[in-house]
């Protein structure tokens, strides 16, 4: 999943593990239903207090529709199924409604439901980010939209960091869905496969466009992500994102390229994000131009590297040939010198000098000079 795990050369499976953000909402647990029923009983109280507020994002809207269906029908089954149809994050509610069961297995189920509730509060809090920034006030306002008291924000120990990380995870999972859709279309032959450079460009643009509603406050979010206790989580999300994009771009490399490609895309993504927060051109056109240029740079660098590698190999081969030739000549010369020395030491009657020996050597071997 992260940079630290190079792929196995022999595995045919997908190189990366799906990011946890996608896995968590769809985790199904049969034991959850009884507590969810208890939860829906609690929810019946909440729907009297929730204001007639229509937030624009899909998850909060379906949550409200879910409660309003509840109030009209007083039937948990229909409401939970209606909620499930609309909201992918609440899939587990579509199981058949059971009667109120014994809650002996409560402990594990509670935590799952608490996390779902926290996810719902954070999703509702995103509406208030343009007004309050990425802060506890936004989370408190989000909780109040759901009918909960502002004291429930105490559940978020990391405060604003929780909100930002939740948003990042949500964007990553949306991007993965879009890329998977496109991949499916290509597999079915309904669309042409794009070139790598175009694919990367579109993926990064789609991902960065998700920041546009919050672009005013995005520098605050970036600074929150750089706080030391948030760095491990933000790096994990970034590496998951880059890995997903390269996977859907068709990268199946199993050598050093796996690292270099991801490092390059990380660099492109981060620099483009920085350009985007300072961009004031219409529809961020400057940012997309910058993105184009950076991707072009990387592609050029890749082709240059390939050319350099080919040239280098040719040069190396030439040098090797010359070196072999030289070494053969040298070894012959050394051999004759030894003969001369040996004869001088042990057979004193031979009055040849060193130069005569060399001349003899040259004549005898008739070298290729």
């Amino acid at each position: 999943m992260a940079f630290g795990c190079p792929p196995d050369k022999f595995s045919e499976a997908k190189c990366n593990i799906p990011p946890p953000a996608v896995a968590a909402p769809t985790a199904t647990n049969p034991k959850c239903s009884s507590l969810r029923r208890g939860f829906h009983c609690a929810a019946l109280r909440l729907q009297d207090e929730s204001k007639p507020y229509k937030p624009p994002t899909s998850s909060s809207t379906t949550y409200h529709e879910h409660y309003q269906a509840h109030s009209t029908e007083q039937d948990t089954t229909a409401a939970s199924q209606g909620g499930a149809a609309a909201d992918p994050a609440e899939e587990e509610a579509s199981r058949p409604n059971t009667s109120y069961q014994d809650q002996s297995g409560e402990q594990g189920e509670e935590y799952e439901t608490e996390e779902q509730l926290q996810a719902r509060i954070l999703a509702a809090a995103l509406e208030f980010v343009p007004q309050h920034g990425w802060s506890m006030e936004a989370i408190a306002a989000g909780a109040e939209t759901l009918g909960l008291s502002s004291a429930s924000t105490g559940m978020f120990y990391n405060g604003a960091g929780d909100l930002v990380l939740h948003f990042i995870a949500q964007c990553n999972s949306q991007l993965t869905e879009i890329l998977a859709e496109q991949h499916k279309h290509v597999q079915l032959g309904q669309a042409e496969p794009k070139k790598t450079a175009d694919f990367l460009r579109d993926a990064v643009e789609t991902r960065l466009r998700m920041y546009i509603p919050y672009i005013e406050t995005w520098p605050q979010a970036m600074s929150i992500l750089l706080l030391p206790h948030n760095i491990p989580d933000s790096l994990k999300h970034l590496s998951t994102l880059v890995d997903d994009i390269w996977f859907y771009a068709g990268d199946r490399s199993t050598d050093m390229n796996w690292y270099t490609k991801r490092a390059a895309l990380t660099g492109i993504y981060n620099t483009t994000e920085l350009v985007m927060v300072q961009d004031s051109s219409p529809d961020f056109q400057d940012t997309w131009n910058f993105l184009d240029n950076r991707i072009q740079d990387v592609v050029n660098m890749a082709t240059t590297a390939k050319q350099a590698q080919a040239t280098g190999e040719a040069v190396v081969q030439g040098l090797m040939g010359a070196a072999v030739t030289v070494s053969i000549c040298f070894s012959d010369l050394v051999h004759h010198l030894y003969e001369f020395l040996f004869s001088r030491l042990f057979h004193a009657h031979q009055q040849q000098s060193c130069t005569q020996c060399l001349n003899q050597y040259v004549r005898s071997t008739d070298l290729c000079f």
Binding site: G38, A42, E49, E114, E137, L148, S149, A151, S152, G154
Partner: protein, 328 residues
Amino acid sequence: MAASVRLLVRRVTRLSHGHVTVCPSGPSGPSGRCCWAPSSCRCFSDDRNTHFGFETVPEAEKAKRVYKVFENVAQNYDVMNDAMSLGIHRLWKDTLLHVMNPQPGARLLDVAGGTGDIAFRFLEYIRSQRERQRRHVARSMQALSWKDISDVYAAREGGEDGPRESRAVVCDINKEMLKVGKQKADSMDMSAGLSWVVGDAEELPFDDEQFDIYTVAFGIRNVTHIDQALQEALRVLKPGGRFMCLEFSKVRDPVLARLYDTYSFKIIPVLGEVIAGDWKSYQYLVESIRRFPDQEEFKRMIEDTGFYCVRYHNLTGGVVALHSGYKL
């Protein structure tokens, strides 16, 4: 209704404890929302005993004796707190507020609040939060054009009546403690947003779902039926509301435990005698600390009542524990 069914099921499965603390109050068990006459309840439980420090007393008597203890100590309560804890109790209460992190507009109920320490800190905290918000708004308005500023003023006048005001209600069974608290508030000029109500933690005189935060600091061990107090807390909290309890608890580390025991039993009653002229009340205090359930047991009791996300922090090595739960 579901909460009470769940509670009764759990009581059946837990028949005995090491402590005598949790005493089921028989057939007239908690029926959730309706108020039953106190006299009928008490006559069922007359034959049950509970602890009063290391003594065993009938339940009906415990409330009276606790009342008398606090009536005696009310005048010197704050001074004695400072002397006994060497001023550390202020840090404990400040930690409670920091963990609580109340948002502006929150309503607090401080039960067994007595002299109002928590309520005062709460109002201070909210006030400084509001100041910070106002400064933030003012800073963001500095670079605006004249047109934008006039728009903001127009919106402010014509629109909503501003953010909700935070309120704190201090509830205590003991009138003397409340009197001392009111005097403190008047002298510190902090009466705005404060109410003082006489009430029993086991039967709060409030409607359902009124408060965002319920706190009880160093008071719940004096309650005869702790689970009833917890159920009342669940009742008066809004959905999403938070229950917080600051209470003396068990020290884990053996060395510290020995020191703490020596200090508690040898020094505190002596201080009580010297400063307040009342040995027995402070003997009761340290004994009641020993009889209170430990951190894990109390956490289980809170979860049984129906709170979620229950956690505790140990302060000063376990001398004090801060339990927190949410009504979700």
